[in-house]
Amino acid sequence: MSKVDLSVKIGNLFLRNPIMLASGTVGYGSEISEFTDLNSIGGIITKSLSLKPRKGNPPQRIVETPAGMLNSIGLANVGVEEFIKSKIPFLNKFDVPLICNIAASSVDEYVECTKILTSEETIKAFEINVSCPNVKEGGLQFGNDVKAVGKVTEKVRAATSKPIIIKLSPNVSYISEFAEVVKKEGGDAVSAINTLVGTTFDINTHKPKIFNINGGLSGPAIKPIALAKVLEISRKVDIPVIGTGGIMNWEDVIEFIIVGSSAVQIGTLNFIDPAAPGKIVKEIEDYCLQNGITKISDLTASYLINE
């Protein structure tokens, strides 16, 4: 039995520790399970699922930038039906909360996906992606519009009794306004942040380095922005925040929790060191032991700000 209580509750979602694996960085769990024991982590969030399979964007989809990377995958995924048929049986082998990330191009599609998936017992919660910068329809067209985010939250809320987490875009002026509407419409939590819109060009060919021109920036380059967004939500809205953006080590996790996160998501790091999430769980426990912290949830929003 651990001496530190690392468990976290987000609505009715119980996590044994605050370390979650971010959508789009762990596929459907099978590959990363070779490096990190899925039973040791707090939760796993699937690659975005849409009603029908999506082929995704043509190459080039990925380019490295200073301390980060741009991606423009375009929500390539197997679709909800194939997910239930071929991916859930594998995930059933693990004792780890499975959170399904849903992407859609209309409110109806979000609702339809949720209705199909909610009867699956393995799925413990939903993360609603209203902030993907890489598709023409849906994604950011919702994420930039407070009313649309409210509408999606309201309709998905009516479609499931399981916890719903809305993944927010940082590409807005005041992210707390979005968190506010999620709370008002019955959302259980928000994830902050999705990637930032960015681009990079080849100076010899004058062409964009990724096919889709813009991509989503992730990695340590965005961590200060993510921390500021989490803090903004934490200070203005009473809703659990799942902090994400550029976490590379356990110190980053603690920093995200201090500024207001109840849990965190590890994303880009999974591409570089897929064994890291398991190690980080142990390291945050050591930090708590050394600092006399008996419950990690006591650390959430423990920031000290002079005003």
């Binding site: 596929g27 399979p53 082929k55 964007n57 190459p59 301390a67 990695g219």
Partner: protein, 253 residues
């Protein structure tokens, strides 16, 4: 597939700006196959952030070899490694060439750094098949023949061997080669692989190529390296997991 830190044995300058890194890694050496690759973290800092994929160049006992040139920050750091430095390796990744099927002559076709996987191929096939190697590059500096046998060279500017592309060179020898059953193994820039595919399809020759694409993870989770499948246009294949070796009939190059 695992992550391991293995020490550099030595760094060898093969030719101008072409390096060979010899790494003691019995774990990788005992399982890796020709044209499988390794994703290498050259630094634990935030830049360069991502691992860099390298085809395994050769395996000798418990040692593995990587062949590369200095192309950017990642390879510059790698070129600065010396004996005893630990290399953070994720691998082996992807699928290698199918070497043991029914043919008499293995025809190797490489352009530039596309030579990287072939010393290992040559070693594996040495006693088993006849080997003919067609190696090209823009200039003589880009033609890398390290570790290969029965070599014919081509260069765009004529500074090494045949003046023209390596596929044109292959074309000039094909009638002679086709007196026996042959299988072509290719690796190089996309323009070369495209020409090689067209040639092999026209000539009705079995051809496998090792494809390249920017990627982050190397094992299927980032979905960053799609390649169009000829069999199912609804879904991309992934270079890292479904490849990097493909039969040219199966992919759009």
């Amino acid at each position: 597939m695992f992550i391991i830190e293995s020490p550099v044995v030595e760094k060898i300058l093969v030719q101008d700006n072409v390096f060979l890194l010899k790494i003691h890694s019995p774990e990788i050496a005992s399982v890796i196959k020709p044209a499988q690759f390794l994703n290498i973290r050259v630094s634990s800092k935030s830049y360069p952030l991502l691992r860099r994929p390298f085809s395994v160049c050769d395996v000798e006992g418990e040692d593995i070899y990587l062949l590369f040139n200095i192309f950017g920050e990642g390879t510059r750091i790698l070129a600065g490694k010396s004996s005893g430095d630990l290399i953070d390796i994720l691998g082996p990744l992807g699928n290698g060439f199918i070497l043991n099927d029914d043919y008499e002559i293995a025809v190797i076709v490489a352009g530039g750094l596309g030579s990287a996987p072939f010393p290992f191929v040559t070693r594996e096939l040495n006693d088993k098949k006849e080997i003919m190697s067609f190696i090209g590059g823009r200039t003589s500096k880009d033609v890398i023949t390290y570790g290969m046998k029965n070599v014919f060279t081509a260069s765009d500017d004529g500074t090494a061997g045949f003046k023209g592309t390596v596929v044109d060179l292959l074309s000039s020898k094909i009638d002679e080669l086709k007196k026996k059953s042959i299988k072509v193994f290719g690796c190089g820039p996309t323009s070369m692989l495209k020409a090689l595919k067209e040639f092999c399809v026209k000539q009705n020759i079995v051809c496998e190529v090792s494809a390249e694409c920017a990627m982050a993870c190397g094992f299927g989770i980032c979905q960053g390296c799609p390649i169009e499948s000829t069999n199912n246009r609804e879904k991309y294949l992934l270079v890292c997991k479904d490849g990097p070796v493909f039969n040219v009939q199966d992919v759009v190059i």
